[in-house]
């Protein structure tokens, strides 16, 4: 469910950049686990949090709330948040509810996806 990055280069600390898979868990109360994991990463010094939506078809209200929690925690830790592989409907939802104001919505170009996939440990 939750994955984090491997060091891209040996100079980069483990927690500098983390990738979290949103999956289906985001839309249930169990999605709080994702939020806890993000907070743990942030407290450990992570400065860039990437949430990957490749396996997420829809984001419901619980999902939005959990993402807002992640955004809030990142901003108080001075970290940035990137949402990647977001489908069009979800991008619209993020724009409508103001989430896109706080995050970078990454282009889900295949090349970029590939880089991230390499970083993820299942």
């Amino acid at each position: 469910m939750i994955t984090h990055s491997e060091p891209v280069t040996s100079a980069q600390p483990v927690t500098e950049k983390s990738v979290i898979r949103a999956g289906d868990y985001l839309n249930k109360l169990s999605g709080e686990q994702i939020e806890y994991e993000c907070k743990r990463q942030l407290e450990a010094g992570c400065k860039e949090l990437v949430v990957n939506f490749a396996e997420t078809e829809l984001v419901n209200s619980i999902g939005i709330s959990i993402l807002l929690g992640i955004i809030d925690a990142a901003s108080s830790n001075g970290a940035t948040v990137v949402f990647s592989d977001v489908n069009e409907t979800t991008v619209e939802l993020f724009e409508m509810l103001g989430l896109s104001k706080h995050v970078t919505i990454a282009d889900s170009a295949p090349q970029l996806t590939k880089i991230w996939q390499n970083m993820i440990i299942s």
Binding site: S61, L68, I71, L97, G98
Partner: protein, 428 residues
């Protein structure tokens, strides 16, 4: 699709989910946490909290908090002025600028300001304060629109009802607990009273000291051997303890006569079952028909008993149990005019009188219990405690019991085969 419509559809999805969550009877804490997520996610709110109102402590206690930090107060004391204003306002959002006029808000103003709270919603259900919702700024940083406030109101209704239901449930559970405790106390008082009565009855009869208590215990054993439930076993014991309560009105000299009493005295003594019934009838006995057991414990299956000369099926079952326990105690204790009978003779007597005086199924159940104890299969030593070790371990008693039981209730594999053999032969 216009953005407004899109927002509405998203918010209604959250409202529908909230309705489902509340009717799902999940864990209450989880329901409240989910509710807060659904409100935040429906509108895109950064921070918030849901609190329950503790009526007696006049406090708002936080049930779910999101993004308000560790130092956000988890319990807020309300004044009567706050309560009055909540009730006047009803369940609708109050802008923070207006909420600041509330006394409790002023106490925590700095704390609330720091978290950029924007809306405060008192949860009022059926004219009662049940809780409150605190909401922070929106992710868009725009002010709340009228329709968003309406959505918040609708969701607040659901949460308010969930808290109110939970409060009602807690109250019902508390009452049930009180009732159970009261019932337990009454039950133990009842048993103490029954035992005191049994002791009073036995005091009157110096030759049969402890008779009522023993009949109670033997009745209990019979009920146990029949596989009855805990309450019914207790009922049988009570019926045994109180079976001779009518003797309290019989003259002491008749009860204690060191000889066989004459006909007149006997008529006097024979009133005790009826008198016992009259004494016990007005009392409510929770588990079994104790008065009937007292009235009919001298009846016999063959109709030659007293007071009414009832036949087998007319005699209440509980009375049949007490009859057996009563006679067994009479046979196994010394009387002024008669020494106790040896165990083997008692077993013979019970067998001989089965179907005549005693119910056969009760005799077999009782003897089977005795045999199990003697064979060491039942280690409670119920019989040994009541009858004494020497008496119980008389020579040949185990074989006697086996033989009698086999004759009365041929259910061992051997006898079953023999019986089947006879049946087979008769078919040819």
């Amino acid at each position: 699709m216009a953005e407004h419509d899109h927002k509405l559809i998203h918010a209604f999805g959250a409202l529908a989910e909230l309705g489902q969550e509340i009717t799902n009877k999940n864990n209450f804490q989880e329901t409240i946490r989910t509710s807060l997520h659904l409100i935040s996610g429906a509108i895109g709110i950064m921070r918030g909290a849901v609190a329950r109102y503790a009526r007696f402590g006049h406090e708002l206690n936080m049930l779910a908090v999101r993004g308000l930090g560790d130092d956000f107060p988890l319990s807020l004391m309300l004044t009567s002025e706050d309560e009055r204003q909540f009730l006047t306002n009803g369940l609708s959002p109050i802008e923070i600028s207006q909420a600041q006029a509330l006394p409790f808000f002023q106490v925590h103003n700095v704390s609330f300001d720091k978290r950029r709270l924007e809306l405060f919603v008192p949860l009022v259900v059926r004219d009662e304060i049940v809780g409150a919702i605190f909401l922070g700024e929106k992710a868009t940083a725009e002010p709340y629109t009228k329709y968003e406030k309406e959505i918040i109101c609708a969701m607040g209704q659901h949460i308010g009802v969930a808290i109110s239901q939970r409060n009602l449930m807690a109250e019902i559970e508390r009452h049930a607990e009180d009732n159970r405790r009261m019932f337990d106390e009454m039950r133990s008082t009842y048993h103490d009273t029954v035992k005191a009565f049994a002791a009073a009855i036995d005091c009157k009869d110096k030759y049969t000291e402890g008779h009522s208590v023993r009949v109670g215990k033997f009745s209990e054993i019979i009920a146990m051997e029949l596989g009855w439930g805990k309450d019914e076993i207790e009922g049988a014991a009570v019926a045994g303890y109180l079976h001779d309560v009518g003797k309290l009105t019989v003259e002491r000299k008749i009860i204690n006569a060191p000889y066989r009493i004459n006909a007149k005295e006997s008529a006097e003594l024979n009133k005790h079952p009826g008198v016992g019934y009259d004494i016990l009838q007005p009392i409510h006995h929770p588990y079994t028909d104790v008065p009937l057991a007292a009235k009919y414990h001298h009846e016999r299956l063959d109709g030659r008993g007293y007071p009414d000369g009832l036949y087998d099926r007319e005699i209440p079952f509980i009375a049949k149990i007490v009859t057996l326990a009563d006679s067994f105690d009479a046979m196994t204790t010394d009387r002024p005019y008669k020494a106790r009978r040896p165990a083997k003779d008692v077993v013979d007597d019970l067998q001989k009188n089965s179907g005549v005086q005693f119910a056969p199924e009760l005799v077999t159940a009782f003897l089977a219990g005795m045999l199990r104890e003697l064979k060491g299969e039942d280690r409670t030593k119920r019989f040994r405690r009541l009858l004494g070790r020497d008496y119980m371990e008389a020579e040949g008693i185990v074989d006697k019991l086996k033989y009698t039981l086999n004759e009365m209730a041929p259910t061992t594999p051997m006898t079953y085969i023999a019986a089947a053999g006879i049946g087979d032969r008769s078919l040819h």
